[in-house]
């Protein structure tokens, strides 16, 4: 079935909805929302399947493995919830679009290489920063944590810089 996608919400409406979802999460759990924490646990589990010994003795992944099942955590259920919520929203609004989404000047292969490199940088950066745009920027920012705002300054500064250098990727 093909239909015209419904418009996105206005940024203020989406921001209010996101802010209330975040507030509810703080009231229920005492923590904010996250995403990279799930990726970390998933990476630790994947690494343990591929190289059990090296992972168990690794200084960073080791503690996750020694504590038992790395994926048995609140953040895993939250991430599954994100997948479900985004699927329901995009399906109901006719916004599911199976594609390699890219700028007009590059092909699919080049786009996927950029996606892979970008993912590596983001994965590494999230571990260095101890969080990502969700956990530090959004949740940390909402608690007025200094750490959250230092993160956001770095995030936007590098975003504008890299975007200017790799203009071709999206424009």
């Amino acid at each position: 079935m093909i239909e015209k996608p419904q418009p996105f919400w206005s940024p203020v409406a989406a921001g209010v909805a996101l802010g209330l979802a975040l507030l509810l999460t703080f009231v229920i759990t005492g923590n904010g929302l996250g995403a990279s924490g799930f990726i970390t646990r998933f990476a630790a589990q994947t690494s343990a399947w591929v190289a059990p010994e090296a992972t168990a003795t690794n200084a960073y992944f080791g503690p996750f493995i020694q504590a038992g099942k790395p994926l048995a955590s609140w953040i895993t259920w939250e991430a599954i919830g994100v997948l479900i919520g985004a699927y329901l929203g995009s399906r109901n609004a006719g916004r599911i679009s199976v594609q390699v989404e890219r700028g007009p000047s590059i092909g699919r292969g080049e786009r996927l290489i950029y996606a892979l490199i970008g993912g590596v940088l983001v994965g590494f950066g999230a571990r260095l920063a101890r969080g990502c745009t969700s956990g530090l920027g959004l949740s940390g920012g909402a608690t007025l944590a200094v750490a959250g705002f230092v993160f956001l300054i770095g995030f936007f500064a590098a975003g504008f810089l890299v975007s200017a250098v790799f203009r071709r990727a999206w424009q």
């Binding site: 996608p5 996105f8 690794n58 929203g89």
Partner: protein, 213 residues
């Protein structure tokens, strides 16, 4: 009953996640073109949505604390490790501008059918694993320039919390006004119809390419 509930159960995770994912998708954050258009100043959705959400939640937490519903120091506040967090933020901002997503939005991209989001996520797993295997030599940097535990802007600036919220509100309004002007000048913001149409094809007015599954 006292709040927060400190409930880390399955239902708690699913409810928080579903609302999070639903709001991010509604904002248009499953589309890397819309997300990265922030950095070409064509679409200020990232700035507007994020700033609005931070303010709504920050004001909510302030009111709940003032009303005695939640206790002081009851919610988690991250601690600053200046260099690691600044450089981590730079890497995430750069990787986002190049790859099109951040960790949360890549999950939204996957759920809305974006194949590039799957590849991005595989990259993130690789980057996370790479970090784990260089963590030991990086430890000095990782813990360098630590700030006071759970330090917040009111502590840093020495002004009351309500004043910080007012300043952030004024900055948000100014940013929204400038952002909307720049958006109009650059032909943005990007619509759902545009980003649900693969690049190189004209958006159809009567029926888009979005598949309803």
């Amino acid at each position: 009953m006292s709040f927060p509930l400190y409930d880390y159960g399955i239902a708690s995770g699913l409810i928080s996640g579903v609302l999070f994912g639903y709001a991010l998708e509604g904002a248009g954050f499953g589309s890397p073109r819309k997300l990265t258009a922030q950095f070409s100043l064509r679409d200020f959705a990232v700035f507007k949505v994020m700033f609005t959400a931070v303010l709504v939640c920050a004001v909510g937490l302030y009111l709940l604390r003032s009303g005695g519903i939640i206790a002081e120091n009851a919610v988690y506040v991250p601690t600053l490790f200046f260099w690691a967090i600044l450089v981590g933020g730079l890497l995430i901002g750069g990787g986002f501008a190049l790859g099109g997503y951040c960790p949360g939005t890549s999950l939204v991209g996957i759920s809305s059918g974006r194949i590039d989001a799957v590849v991005f996520t595989i990259g993130m797993i690789g980057g996370t694993t790479a970090f784990a295997f260089v963590y030991e030599p990086l430890q000095n940097f990782y813990f360098a320039a630590k700030g006071p535990d759970a330090q917040r802007l009111p502590d840093l600036l020495g002004i009351p919390e309500w004043a910080v919220l007012v300043i952030l509100g004024v900055l948000a309004l100014a940013g929204f006004a400038v952002g909307s002007l720049l958006e109009r000048a650059r032909g943005g913001p990007l619509t759902a119809e545009e980003v649900c149409t693969p690049a190189g094809e004209e958006p159809l007015s009567a029926s888009g390419h979005a598949m309803k599954i």
